[in-house]
């Protein structure tokens, strides 16, 4: 009898915990939806923060350029090196430029750029806005007659959405250069024939898909960083959590989006 009572209590408290978690999940979802819809509303309505958007574009690009150059170049070299043995088994090393071009343009370029940007830019946005929130700088902006959402959030999200596709194109270029050096050293392929192979393998759909995907990645990284920073809990711990959570959530969403975009682009192709 006693055991039945205990079981029923456990079961009741279990339901309560589940209900609470569900409530929290849906409340968070509503909060995120409101934040995203506010972004679109504020982005369309004047006044526009052109100067701040340009400044943020420069910040995003400047912060990531060195890291992206290095990782892009290494990705090109390593991917070429790793692909060679498999192709050489079939005596098809001449296909290396085509294979590398397809992999880098369709997947590696946008993905590597987005992951680097999520770590470098996303964390920085989360920490910056989190710190501004904790030290009442966002409130100070609001009471001085400036819309902090427009000035801080809209400008940063637009900057990441504009800059990350540009960085992606740059990563693709650098990665292909890395691949060319490797191919040139091993197969003595000339630059002209490497480029011909590369452009023969990719189509406009690939480039268009890559750019579109990067815009979505950029939007996600900016939005997640801003949301986490803007809603950080008070205290220095909140700033750390905002920065950390910005990176983890943005990376997770980037992979989900990569998977979804793969399905959508395959349908077009």
């Amino acid at each position: 009898m006693q055991s039945d009572t205990t079981k029923s209590t456990d079961s009741t408290s279990g339901r309560t915990v589940t209900t609470r978690r569900l409530d929290k999940f849906f409340l968070n979802l509503a909060d995120v939806s409101a934040f995203v819809s506010r972004f679109f509303r504020e982005a369309v309505l004047p006044p526009y923060e052109f100067k701040e958007i340009v400044r943020q574009c420069f910040e995003v690009g400047y912060r990531s350029l060195l890291l992206i150059s290095t990782t892009g170049f290494i990705t090109g070299i390593v991917f070429t090196n790793q692909s060679r043995p498999s192709l050489s088994e079939f005596g098809a090393t001449s296909w290396l430029p085509s294979l590398i071009a397809i992999a880098i343009v369709r997947a590696l370029g946008p993905l590597v750029t987005a992951l680097i940007a999520a770590g470098k830019v996303g964390s920085s946005i989360g920490a910056e806005l989190g710190s501004m929130n904790v030290t009442e700088q966002i409130d100070a902006m609001e009471v001085s007659g400036t819309n902090p959402f427009k000035f801080l959030v809209v400008s940063r999200v637009l900057a990441t959405s504009i800059t990350i596709p540009i960085l992606t194109m740059y990563t693709i270029f650098v990665a292909l250069m890395g691949a060319y050096i490797n191919v040139n050293l091993n197969e003595q392929t000339s630059f002209i024939s490497f480029i011909q192979e590369v452009f023969g393998a990719i189509s406009y759909v690939d480039i268009f898909a890559s750019v579109t995907k990067s815009i979505v990645f950029g939007f996600t990284i900016g939005m997640v960083g801003c949301y986490k920073g803007y809603h950080s809990s008070k205290g220095t711990e909140g700033v750390g959590k905002a920065a950390n959570s910005s990176v983890v959530t943005a990376m997770f969403l980037v992979f989900i989006e990569e998977l979804l975009s793969l399905q959508i682009i395959s349908a077009f192709r």
Partner: protein
């Protein structure tokens, strides 16, 4: 200490103000009227809702019940451009100073000016910034970053940034918190100086008795979510109420 002369017009009127955070009932029916040019110091222990009160007055927080009318405007009803215009007339000096870390002192001071006042020439902006810094005695910091300043300097720059728009009302949130006694006196003098120069009405949120006595024409004692006593400093603390006496007589015991 300077005091305002014969204030007449009511510029701040608070009636039946209530605010709760979950089960925590912070403000339980606040009533207060402040006349133009008057300085009112709001005293109370930490966590009693003093800062909440002034945040409601500038629309940073919404009240659960009651009405707050500032400069003839029902603050809760203001939206968008009307609210922005209203906020230009009400300066808010934050407890943490809230200087923008990524901007220099010059950029911090320019920020409200550039964004709120149209058609200002570069020369006008520079003059206004230099004047504001001169008024708080920190002209030499113009090209420094906030992280290079001391707590007292940050407070004064925070006040200068607020004053650059020449507000009619100043709200100070714990202006002397965390400062040494000498710097606290400097801040108190600055608050009085602001009233003399701008004729601004001020509400000073503090738990520092010296600050309240030096700057306030009246003191409002916030106890259990209500203003239990409002009046001149000496009158309020002549009250035999145990809670008021406890606040007044608290001394450091070694």
């Amino acid at each position: 200490m300077s005091k305002a002369t014969t204030p007449t017009e009511t510029v701040i009127s608070i009636k039946g103000l209530r605010k709760s955070f979950g089960n925590l009932h912070v403000l339980r029916g606040i009533d207060l009227e402040v006349k133009r040019g008057e300085n009112v110091a709001v005293l109370g222990r930490s966590g009693t809702g003093k800062s909440v009160l002034i945040k409601i007055m500038v629309g940073l927080l919404k009240p659960d019940a009651g009405k707050v009318v500032v400069l003839g405007e029902d603050v809760e009803q203001l939206r968008g451009k009307e609210l922005d215009a209203f906020r230009q007339k009400v300066g808010f000096s934050f407890q943490s100073s809230a200087l923008y870390d990524s901007m220099s002192i010059r950029e911090n001071l320019e920020f409200p000016l550039v964004r709120n006042v149209r058609n200002l020439s570069r020369e006008d902006i520079d003059k206004a910034v230099e004047k504001a810094l001169e008024d708080v005695g920190l002209s030499q910091t113009i090209n420094q970053m906030p992280s290079e300043l001391s707590g007292g300097q940050r407070k004064r720059i925070g006040i200068a940034r607020t004053l650059i728009l020449k507000p009619e009302i100043m709200l100070y949130d714990e202006p002397t918190a965390g400062l040494d006694p000498i710097t606290s006196v400097e801040i108190n003098n600055l608050i009085n100086d602001v009233r003399e120069r701008l004729g601004a009405t001020s509400i000073i949120i503090t738990h520092d008795l010296t600050c309240a006595k030096t700057t306030g024409d009246r003191v409002a004692m916030l106890l259990d979510g209500k203003f239990e006593r409002v009046g001149p400093f000496d009158e309020v603390f002549a009250d035999k109420d145990e809670r008021i006496q406890q606040f007044y007589n608290y001394k450091f015991v070694d």
